[in-house]
Assembly symmetry: C2
Homo-oligomer: 388 residues x 2
């Protein structure tokens, strides 16, 4: 048994859990920082650990293209290659093939795509994606899936779901036949924003003995209410005893909402990407360090934050470094943003433990002014081009 | 007395010394990493300390333009603003005005120049440069000077020297009248590559009671032999009891050569700048991490190096990160390059202590293949445009 629910919240579907992996345990609900190329951008592994990370996510698609799984395997596997000995989850590359690469063709056997780096053509099959993740040696692995944007038609979504389910079976078979006992293969639930399809997906996955369920095809350009609605509905169909992972979602308000819907795991590039654009989180919402109001502000990014950045530096200094394109400022903002999310998750877990998550949620969402628009527009843009 | 010679080498002019500043002592010969904008590029203050730095250099010109000395003063001075409580040396901005800004006009009173950032016009006087450094609160400060490139004529050089000497007097006067007792004002020796002018400069500076002498106008596009020759000659004119600082010089071979000529202090952007171009130091010379030979090289940058980078990561991983433009790789290479220089300086100091610097120098220079060409061509380019 790789997952254990330790405590349930009485008013929501939130729960405290513990996920056991080959490289150690993870306390859920958990946020996973993203290390796309095998490094959480701008940070050392020690810094990632210091902000509170227990598990990181890395991208199969990117590592497959550069440096290639063979080099990582020769280097002793992904953990050793990147100097991180705690759990790692790798995605399947499905999301990137659809959102980043130039997609060529989906066939029953797999997906033809052109690399976003140099345009060279590749063919991903469920088996290849499993083979890559075997070489990487990540603790939690994902099967190849078809990920559609918001607005895909019912029939398109249904067809994609059927293929995704057949690919899942092939992934399970590959894993069984290739000595991958130390790796946990989650199933990815697709079905777009059609309840009927989500339900069908879950029902057909229930007897596959999967150690966890990932909710895919969410945060693909839809409005927030649609996202919450389909997440809430999908989780309601899932068995209590398995971990649930909401892929690619991790804005502060989404973490709180997601946990209360029963989500156990999250990942998102937002905290690290926003940092490189000067954005930092505070309890009342996002701020941008470029703002002139911080020119002579000698206080930390957030008054009661315990992160390295806030313990050591002022807004005025970070602003100066950022405006001069000093990469140290990206690191400082990244550390703060990640620490902000990990403190938020600590608060969330404590609230569940003390049976007052509803209260905490209300408090947090009242204070925190969510700024979703920018992010949603960007996602819409990415996904809309697939609808043309 | 701010400087003390502790031990002299019997075969060369090298010496061990101790320089006392308001923010602590520095063991010489010493290399000073450059924090142009108030941060050693890509590093935290803790990392700068960990590689072995006892003092850093920062640039008056850059800090004057951004964020401006007033903000730094309001933030509690440069040490507090940047989170570094050990000694700081600031240059005068003279070098940058000549090499970086668009120079408009030199007058008896000062220099008109246009900012390299946005072209706006400024006027540097010796007094303003002192005022800025007073606001910064750096431990060792420099007077405004006129810095010419290699190839400047005798008369041009002589005229520049005369102005530089008059500006030095004005700087000394300003310091006396403005409560700057905790700051050490060094004199900058100009005179180009004309022995006669260097001699005149030194002679006229000897009775000014300066706490240290900086050799300026060196490493401005000249061949190495000219650089060594004029350095050696100039040092031979200087009093034993004062520290000597060779400005802007810090290639590994130059550190060893410079120390044996009697230089006590060095600064250079090379180790940090080269790192951002993928270059790393080894005992046998420079290497570039982009090189295909490192693709599957799972050994550290240098086998017996004790730096964080070499203790934790392989060439294959650093190469992967570098090729993917991950800024963490710039940090890793910067740490190694600085540590390489600090270990070199530790070896140099130990050799002086043990009376075998000549031996060490021979050994090191035999092993280390100096690659000066690239750097020299770049300097030539910068300085040649001033000759047109």
């Amino acid at each position: 048994m790789s997952f254990e629910v330790i405590q349930r919240d009485k008013n929501t579907r939130a729960r405290l859990g513990r996920l056991k992996t080959f490289h150690g345990e993870v306390n859920t609900p958990v946020f996973m920082p993203v290390g796309t190329q095998g490094a959480v951008k701008t940070l050392s592994p020690e810094e990632v650990e210091e902000v509170g990370a227990e598990i990181i996510l890395s991208n199969t698609y990117h590592l497959f293209l550069r440096p290639g799984q063979e080099i990582i395997k020769k280097g002793g596997g992904l953990h050793r290659f990147i100097g991180w000995d705690k759990p790692i989850l790798t995605d399947s590359g499905g999301y990137q093939v659809f959102s980043l690469a130039r997609l060529r063709k989906i066939e029953e056997d797999g997906i033809y795509f052109n690399s976003h780096i140099d345009g060279s053509q590749y063919f991903f099959t469920p088996e290849l994606v499993m083979e890559v993740q075997k070489a990487l040696g990540s603790d939690i692995i994902m099967p190849l899936d078809i990920c559609l944007g918001y607005g895909a038609s019912y029939w398109e979504t249904k067809e994609a779901l059927e293929i995704t389910l057949r690919w899942l079976k092939r992934s399970i078979d590959y894993k069984k036949n290739n000595n991958m006992e130390t790796q946990l293969l989650f199933g990815i639930i697709q079905g777009g924003f059609y309840r009927e399809l989500r339900k069908e997906a879950v029902e057909r996955m229930l007897d596959m003995e999967l150690p966890g369920f990932a909710l895919g095809g969410i945060s693909v350009g839809e409005p927030k209410d649609k996202m919450y609605e389909i997440t809430d509905y999908t989780v309601s169909l899932l068995p209590e005893e398995k971990p649930r992972y909401l892929m690619g979602v991790g804005a502060p308000e989404d973490l709180v909402m997601g946990v209360s819907m029963g989500i156990d795991m999250f990942d998102c590039v937002l905290p690290t990407r926003l940092a490189r654009h000067g954005v930092f989180y505070t309890k009342t919402g996002r701020r941008n360090i470029k703002n002139a109001q911080y020119k002579e502000d000698f206080s930390p990014l957030e008054e009661d934050c315990d992160c390295y950045t806030c313990r050591r530096f002022t807004k005025a200094y970070i602003r100066h470094l950022f405006l001069q394109h000093e990469t140290f400022s990206y690191r400082l903002l990244t550390i703060h943003n990640l620490r902000f999310l990990f403190r938020l998750m600590e608060d969330v877990r404590r609230s569940i433990r003390e049976g007052r998550l509803e209260e905490f949620k209300k408090e947090f969402l009242t204070q925190y002014l969510a700024n979703d628009r920018e992010n949603r527009l960007e996602k819409e843009e990415v996904w809309n081009r697939l609808l043309i």
